[in-house]
Amino acid sequence: MREVGIWVVGLQGLAVLQVGAAYLLAPRAAGGGAWFGVPVAPGFAATAEGGRIAGGYRRAVVGWTLASLVALAALALLAADAWPGLAAAGLVTLAQVGGCTAAWSAAHRASLPHAVPTPGSMIRRASLGPVTGALRPAMDLVGFLILGAAALYLWSRWDQLPERFPVHWGPSGPDRWGTRRPADVFGPLGFGAGMVAMMVALRWVLAWQLPAGATPRAQATRRLGLDALQGTGWFIAGLTAVGALTPLAGGPEVVIVGAGVGMLVLLVASVVALVRLSALPPDPPGPPPPAGALRWGGLLYANPEDPALWVPKGAGLGYTVNLGHPRGKLTLALLVGLPIALSLGLAWLTS
């Protein structure tokens, strides 16, 4: 099963590339007067100091990405046949995210001396036009259709299913088995349907709560976030369907190849979306947050005087939760807690 371990580490490599691309493109996609979350004069990017800050950030992101890929290659060669090696591969991705976030914070701090004063402190803009990027309920059905098609296929081939089949693999081969009964055959699809339903619910709640955006760039950013949730839901549905079909179609290699293809599609789609976002006309510079409203090195916003639950991000790309709002802490806890609960649920189910 060493090959399986190598493939799993390879998937982590794709995730590392995706993270690296997102961090490299984020400053350009943010646009407007926001430069690493700091309002600067137009043309600052073209100055020597702007070039120095951007160059340092790019080098750090590329460095962390390359180092992560090298670490993953070493793990694939040396430790892909044991659980500690596979767990370490996950830690490599986390380290990359931490390193790139630290590089962003360093660029933010280096840009602060170049901040220009902007009028007002709580200026809000809204469009009177129709909301673009409206929810397409039919698209939300795609995930369920994928799972339904897999269930139908399994039901139609019921007699061809083996009496006993592996449902979980460890580094040394299959370590858990199921039998030909509805709970074992359709159970993973039911769990997948639950995950897809949670993604759809999250998408609808965010579409309901997030500001629609007053400019083409703000509206495109909102659409990108909602589409990313939809794409993730489809990815989960596809992966679960492929996993459920393994008793008929082969071993874990099929799931790994399916995951790889899905991750590649998500990687290409996210890079294309960020590049298209970068090409939109820049927004007017946003006002700086009031003194004392930023927490955790500018990552969080808490201002009880601000009646808004969602406020424009300092980075200029999307919105963040105002922790000073009565519902702010609960909203942030749900946003952070839901993916963690999903991951823990998945880990519990597959352990």
Partner: protein, 133 residues
């Protein structure tokens, strides 16, 4: 170009007044036309980060002036509205607000020349709109 309104939540002017003023400016300039649906109260409140009642108050104000039809469940629809001749009360209200604005301009050091140029530009735009109408 999208008709966009902008308010400053840190400004002393109440938010509902700023919202009503900003929408009215689009209405009189013809950037928002009769028959067009405005965003729902909930949507505009979310976008501006204010309480629903604040937007509802602004819409009621504009409906009272004859600009909007607030049908239940249909949102706010822009009405075709002929500009009435200014009543003595409306003229007095305008004078009072202009006086308040002039006081703010003086207090904040806005040059008189700048005030004059801006008022002349506004008056010219109003005359041009009346000619077009």
């Amino acid at each position: 170009m999208l008709p966009v309104i902008e308010i400053d939540l840190a400004a002393p002017t109440p938010a509902f007044r700023q919202i009503a003023d900003a929408i009215r400016a689009h209405l009189v300039a013809g950037r928002v036309r009769a028959g067009q649906q405005l965003p729902t109260v909930r949507r505009l409140a979310t976008d501006l980060g204010v309480h629903h009642n604040t937007v509802a108050e602004a819409y009621r104000l504009l409906a009272g002036e004859g600009w909007l039809d607030l049908g239940r469940g249909r949102g706010a629809t822009v009405l075709s509205r002929a500009t009435p001749g200014a009543s003595p009360e409306a003229a007095e209200r305008f004078e009072r607000r202009l006086g308040e604005l002039a006081a703010v301009a003086r207090a904040e050091g806005v040059p008189a020349e700048s005030v004059r140029e801006r008022l002349l530009a506004l008056a010219r735009a109003m005359l041009a709109e009346r000619r077009r109408a």
